[in-house]
Amino acid sequence: MAKLLEVKNLDIRLKKGKETIPAVNGVSFSVEKGKTLGIIGESGSGKSLTCYGVMGLLDKKLWDYNGEVYLDGELLDIKDNKKMQKIRGNKIALIMQNPMSAFNPVITIGAHFVETINKTGETKKTKEEIRSKALELMDKMRIRDPEVVYKSYAFQLSGGMLQRIMIALALVSEPELLVADEPTTALDLTVQHEIMNILHGMQKDYETSILIVSHDLGVISHLADDIAVMYGGEFMEKGPAHKILADPEHPYTRGLFSSRPAFSKERLKMMPGSPPRLEERGTGCQFYGRCGERKNGCKEYSPDKGTMISDREVRCLLVDTEETQRKLGA
């Protein structure tokens, strides 16, 4: 399978005075053409940062970031805002979480379409052309009364509606890659389901690759072909979705999956503690403090890469031994 997006050693650091605090520690991943990679993890694990880093959208005053990002084999200059501007909204589109505050409250939805379609100013389309294009896309997103919506302001519409408009706006350029940062988080359950179906349908129609970030296992398992489990700015486990979902290898992944509510009367299991804040992160295994299976050496465990177990990469000392390697038949 051809890789559409390939990210190598993406490193993101928060600037604090003269020092920098690591937030994302050199993660590498790829998204295949027409496939979906889901990044899952708790809040503060660096998922969204990774998305924004790939798109070059991080504020350089706050963040120091490095890494190689290849799109269709071409190296992107993620630190050059001007160059990335041509890629963004063109080859890569973004849909954000909390659509309520992602739209400018003082301009209409229509105006958002106008500036998205006429962003370069090279091929100026008439207002009528833009309107009919927008109405067509909104219709595809099953938005009722698109004419009314076109003239409306964001604060007059619901979150689910705005999220669908965001997808419509992303489709303007028929992007090769769609980055979806917690696209369903602020929405209620039925709307969540609808949005996931729309994303799924869109992928079929346009062969778009999707990089989706969520803390919601339901969303990820519904959409992703591959999964990366993120914790403390690192990928704990990465591999094909069906394998990870069926048989999580990393203690953190297991913990995450077991805290998922099921329709049973059993009390929900909970992982003790919460993810370390940026300042609290140590070297060694990031999950050390909360891991129920930790042993000697875990605290210092910080390999350059995880252990490969067939097509899965796991970053855990328990797996990184000759014995387990043999047992798993790597």
């Binding site: 924004y52 798109m55 959208l57 504020d59 805002n81 501007q85 041509k86 890629i87 963004r88 909204g89 063109n90 589109a93 973004l94 954000m96 909390n98 505050s101 992602a102 739209f103 400018n104 409250p105 003082v106 301009i107 209409t108 105006a111 958002h112 500036e115 998205t116 962003k119 370069t120 100013g121 302001y153 604060f155 706006l169 350029s173």
Partner: protein, 310 residues
């Protein structure tokens, strides 16, 4: 929208009624005696007899309520009587002076906008760097400098030392420059800081990131998103302050002998010129209410969220 405007204009009636009571009452609470002031203004030494005659002529011997309604009845027809001091029609004097004050306030506003908007933008773009720090100091000094001190300093420099501009008077456009600058300095300080903070707040809003993610150019983001939203608080404050500019130009007008409302009212108060003072208070109330209404309407045009409130 039209309904809203009509509603606001209808509210004017009870407000003006209250204002008329206050205007009438305040003038009568003022220390000093109108009859004496009237005679003195005419250069006649006040004697008991003369005061009595003047009182009768002016109708001050009637009960207060009768006096009030007599005045109100005429005021409704814009007839505020004849000034004791100048013997001219009050409404004509007031409108004449208003023109000068409006000229002063209008030109000051132009200066304020022309200077504070670029200053605010530069400060925001280079926030906490040298240009912003310079602007911060300038704004701080500007805001702390009273006009009765700044005005003479400007006169000293531009009129007396350099001889570029006239000291006082209102004959030509050149006479307008110094008083306008004196008046605008405080507002420049306020608005440039207000705009800077508003810009910085909006530039980190999520809708800006989302615009970038859609590939919108940086220039378009600044004009369509950041500047547009940041101008809303500036316009609102500006509208409120415009009323203050008209009512608060007194010091500058006295300083530069500018024949506006401020100077007129100061001399009228000194002369216990009741009809003039009463007319002035009513006029100011009307101006304030209309300027506020205009500001509200502009805010509604700029900020669609406000339309919901109508």
């Amino acid at each position: 929208m039209a309904k809203y405007v009509i509603k606001r204009l209808l509210i004017l009636i009870p407000i003006l009624f209250l204002v008329s009571i206050i205007a009438f009452g305040l003038v009568r609470l003022m220390p000093g005696n109108a009859e004496v002031a009237y005679l003195q203004a005419a250069g006649i030494p006040p004697t008991e007899e003369l005061i009595e005659t003047v009182r009768k002529d002016m109708g001050y011997d009637r009960p207060l309520l009768v006096q009030y309604f007599d005045w109100l009845g005429k005021a409704v027809r814009l007839d505020f009587g004849i000034s004791y001091a100048s013997k001219k029609v009050v409404s004509e004097e007031l409108f004449g002076a208003l023109q000068y004050t409006a000229k002063l306030a209008g030109f000051s506003s132009l200066i304020v906008l022309a200077v504070s908007i670029p200053m605010g933008i530069v400060s925001a773009v280079k926030s906490n760097k040298a240009p912003d720090n310079v602007n911060r100091v300038v704004a701080f000094v500007g805001a702390s400098m009273p006009s009765f001190w700044l005005g003479p300093l400007l006169v000293q420099l531009f009129s007396l030392t350099l001889g570029w501009l006239p000291v006082q008077g209102a004959m030509s456009f050149r006479h307008l420059i110094l008083p306008s600058i004196t008046m605008s300095v405080l507002y420049i300080a306020t608005y440039s800081r207000l705009l800077r903070n508003s810009l910085l707040e909006n530039i980190s809003k999520r809708f800006v990131t989302y615009s970038r993610a859609r590939g919108v150019s940086e220039n378009k983001i600044i004009t369509n998103h950041v500047l547009r939203t940041s101008m809303i608080p500036v316009v609102t404050t500006f509208g409120i302050n415009f009323g203050h500019m008209i009512a608060g130009s007194t010091i500058v007008e006295v300083l530069f002998s500018w024949p506006g409302l401020g100077r007129l009212i100061i001399s009228s108060i000194a002369a216990r010129d009741f009809p003039m003072i009463q007319g002035y208070i009513v006029l100011m109330a009307v101006i304030f209410i209309l300027v506020n209404l205009a500001t509200d309407l502009i805010t509604v045009v700029l900020d669609p969220r406000m339309r919901e409130a109508l």
